[in-house]
């Protein structure tokens, strides 16, 4: 033990004596120590690498063994039943507010072929062509005798067809279980429901995925296995929806319009009892994508943004009253035409030098509304319209709601404020309008339009005072009793509302002379409104008179009145048999 450390020193002393350089020896010592260390480390590493290599080998064997185990376990697992269980009732039904079915699933089968297993391709092709007239015998034979080992023949077949194919008795013709989406009411509420199609598809099952409407928006919810197939209930009322669509379709034909839409909203909760857009389609057989704004797939009530004209006047008046700028009896300067820069604002008729605020609404004076908007100013107007929900897309539970972004003026100048006050320069959807009218109708609180019952409750942010709301409602009632909407009177239901007739903008610039969008935004009963109804007709012409009439009072209003006449009893709104006491008040204010 003692000798080891001494020895190098001895060598160095020895070297010194001989006159050699001792550094070389020291280097050699260092090198030897290094080699020893390396040797030790190497011996240790050899062992550890052996362990490591063996471990890896074991894990590889384990993975391979497990693979073999799974690969060999085929017979013990009844796979078809497991897959079958997973596709049953995989998509939730859709019900209306009273539990009636709007969309459900039906079990059906797909038909596919495995040509290698076929016994007599010619015979099978003969019989198949007889069962399915759209299949061609020659094409089938070619496919059956070709190289393919698998091919789909039909995605959906009826039970009768399935039996007929079964009777061919060819083992190469096979069926895969499918669930198909069924809309038992056909085109009813088609724009809300949207439609569904097969998604990823296998032999044993296929996904059903929504392509539009609530089916797409709530797709993940309806397919969520955790909900256990619990149906999705909508706020729509099937009966009301049917009545609205029927009357609207009749009105559209009578008024020679090319499109129409209607929205019925509960003013307290924002629930949509009915929302319709015509022309519509059958979601069971959804047409291909085409046509833009005139396609039946286009939802005019939500996706269609239009300048809705004079229906906007009540917003300017309500805001000015709420700010205390005017009262219903204030005199408004309506001397026309109103000049603003190069721009002239005119009224339909000349209404004289001045009139009361109520008269501005009842007679629908553009100049009066523009004067009021001047008093309000741009910024306050923007804030108010935003509170009414008119500047943002509607948050409705259908996928198309994302496309309802209103079209705002590029620069919101004072002139924009004036034109917007009578509904030009700002394009919104009929659903936007219904939401804003609901706020006026319910006493001034915000509502969120929804298709799901009991989602939005009352008690949103207050936009205007209760008194302003009441005063605005009295004016709207007078529009029907002595204004532009006289065809809107439905006895017993005290309808109030505002008409709007807007020239359609020409895509080439400017406006069409002879194409209008007519709107009637109404609420009933006006003294204590429960529902708001907005009816919009696209390019209507009423031709019973000596000249064609295109104003809302002649087109949208009678349609809306007929809808109210039909749906008010269905909605449980009681008719007021006595003459409405409101008439007295309106008389005094019209001196």
């Amino acid at each position: 033990m003692i000798r080891t450390p001494l020895r190098p020193l001895a060598r160095i002393l020895d070297a010194r004596r001989k006159g050699e350089n001792p550094d070389a020896i020291e280097r050699e010592n260092m090198h030897r120590r290094h080699e020893e260390m390396r040797g030790r480390a190497r011996v240790q590493a050899e062992g550890r690498l052996l362990i490591l290599g063996a471990t890896f080998l074991m894990v590889f064997v384990l993975v391979g063994g497990r693979m073999a185990l799974i690969a060999g376990s085929e017979p013990s697992e009844p796979r078809a039943s497991a897959a079958g269980a997973s596709i049953r009732a995989q998509r939730a039904d859709i019900l209306d507010r009273r539990g009636r079915i709007l969309a459900t699933n039906m079990e059906t089968y797909s038909l596919y072929a495995q040509p290698p297993q076929m016994i007599d391709p010619g015979h099978a092709a003969d019989r198949l062509a007889a069962i399915f007239p759209d299949l061609e015998r020659e094409a089938l034979i070619e496919k059956f005798t070709g190289k393919r080992k698998f091919l789909w023949i039909k995605r959906k077949i009826s039970p009768e067809q399935r039996q007929a194919v079964h009777d061919i008795g060819d083992p190469g013709l096979l069926f895969g279980p499918r669930e198909m989406r069924l809309y038992p009411n056909g085109a009813l509420a088609s724009h809300v429901l949207g439609g569904a199609r097969f998604g990823r598809e296998g032999v044993h099952a296929a996904e059903v995925v929504g392509v539009a409407g609530v089916e797409k928006k709530l797709d993940s919810m309806m397919r969520d296995p955790a909900r256990g197939g619990e149906p999705v209930r909508l706020s729509l009322d099937l009966t009301v929806q049917a009545a609205v669509e029927r009357v609207l379709a009749g009105g559209m034909t009578l008024m020679n319009a090319k499109g129409a839409s209607a929205v019925v909203m509960d003013v307290q909760t924002g629930e949509l009892v009915s929302i319709a857009s015509l022309p519509d389609f059958d979601p069971n057989d959804r047409p291909g994508v085409s046509g833009g704004a005139d396609s039946p797939l286009f939802n005019r009530a939500v996706q269609g943004v239009y300048e809705l004209g004079s229906t906007f006047k009540i917003f300017a008046v309500a805001q000015a009253m709420d700010l205390g700028l005017i009262t219903p009896e204030s005199m408004i300067d309506t001397k026309g035409p109103l000049k603003w820069g190069k721009f002239l604002i005119r009224d339909f008729h000349d209404y004289g030098a001045e009139m009361t605020t109520s008269e501005v609404i009842v007679k629908s004076s553009n100049i009066g509304a523009a004067r009021i908007a001047q008093q309000i100013g741009v910024e306050r107007q923007q804030a108010f319209l935003r509170d009414l929900g008119l500047l943002d897309p509607v948050p409705l539970e259908i996928i198309e709601a994302g496309g309802s972004q209103p079209l705002l003026p590029h620069r919101w100048s004072e002139l924009s404020a004036m034109t917007i006050s009578y509904g030009h320069g700002l394009s919104v959807s009929p659903l936007h309008l219904a939401t804003a009218y609901s706020i006026i109708a319910n006493g001034g609180r915000q509502v969120r339009p929804t298709l799901l019952p009991h989602q939005g409750g009352p008690g949103g942010k207050r936009v205007m005072s209760r008194e302003t709301s009441a005063a605005a409602r009295r004016m709207l009632r007078r529009v029907v009793t002595d204004g532009t909407a006289s065809f809107g009177e439905v006895s017993g239901y005290a309808v109030g509302g505002k008409t709007g007739t807007a020239d359609k903008p020409d895509p080439q610039g400017g406006y069409y002379e002879d194409k209008t969008i007519t709107t009637f935004a109404s609420m009933f009963p006006a003294d204590k409104p429960q529902y708001v109804l907005v009816v919009m007709l696209d390019e209507p012409v009423e031709t019973t008179g000596p000249e064609p009439r295109r104003t809302a009072g002649w087109t949208a209003v009678p349609v809306a009145a007929e809808i109210i006449r039909r749906i008010a009893p269905l909605l449980g709104v009681r008719p007021e048999i006595e003459p409405a006491p409101l008439a007295d008040i309106t008389l005094t204010s019209s001196n």
């Binding site: 290094h34 590493a45 550890r48 690498l49 890896f56 384990l62 993975v63 693979m67 085929e74």
Partner: protein
Amino acid sequence: MTEMVYGTVPVRDGEPVLPKWWRTIDKWSMSCVMILFAIGLLLGFAASPPLAAKNGFEPFHYVQRQALFGTVALMTMLILSMMRPDLVRRLAVIGFFCALAAVIGLPFFGTDFGKGAVRWYSLGFGSFQPSEFLKPGFIVVAAWLLAASQEINGPPGQRLSLMLAVGIAGMLAVQPDFGQAALILFGWSVMYFVAGAPIYLLVGIAGLTILASTLAYNHSEHFARRIDGFLSPDVDPTTQLGYATNAIREGGFFGVGVGEGEVKWSLPDAHTDFIIAVAAEEYGLILVLTVILLYAVIVVRSMVRLMRERDPFIRLAGTGLAAVFGVQAIVNMGVAVRLLPAKGMTLPFVSYGGSSLIAGGIAVGMLLAFTRSRPQGEIGDILRGGGRHR
């Protein structure tokens, strides 16, 4: 005289590069890599047309890309395998710092391609995942540090490399990419183990792990449920794992036949993370076992060759590269057979993916360069009586 010879005359062994390379390279491992790549292309023909159809390309778009990237990767591998270890080390260190800079820059310039994790740079014609290139670079740098710490008066390489490993793993974890982070830590641990980790530390870590997981299992309901769910034999047939299990089962021993598989239409990751399921369904257990055998040959052969290696750096770097390569394959296949909980990891050389292929080529090229046979001082060992040679 002595001094003139020492250091001034350029040392050149007379043997030309290619013959020497062919004589010393591990031909078995290299062949295995080539075969794996060929299998990957073959599976690409089966697995990628659904994806191509979905993205609107012609059916074999991804196979073509895979062939292109694969050629680049194999070339890289061959070139790297011809280099001397110190040249490889030099390049790897440079590459490591470039990749590190790229990973650090990810939060600022990277993109997530809508997948929720910022891991990629978007180049015009494709994407680039720097963490794939960081792995081999890190292994070499860490091996260098660990080897240097074994020298007399060496730097504190163990501590430095651990800090590096933890730092990089942290960066990867925030992307978040826990798979790559775990790989980095695993690579370091394996090298530390071979570099001579104290045995009491190993026993201590093993004990702590067992203790911690027992505690977690008994006290955390969430953790227990996940483990139970993973251990239970039933699997929901509509999950990715369910599809994979079904595919293996459908394939049986000899497969359902080329192009007949169904699973590739159901699995979104059929061409990457679950390619082994496609292989199992269409070609059966035979091909899967072949693939496993190929990986095992590469990993175990490399380790056996490294056992005789005298240079600690080469030994450590080679071990780290082989271990990470093998573990990636094991995790990928282990997920498909539910030996491991689901974790996205590619199957080296087989899965589709440009970054993963080329980085794999770099890693295997370096591994081949390190496992080339070279004189290991056997005679000196015998003379000194050291070593463990028969």
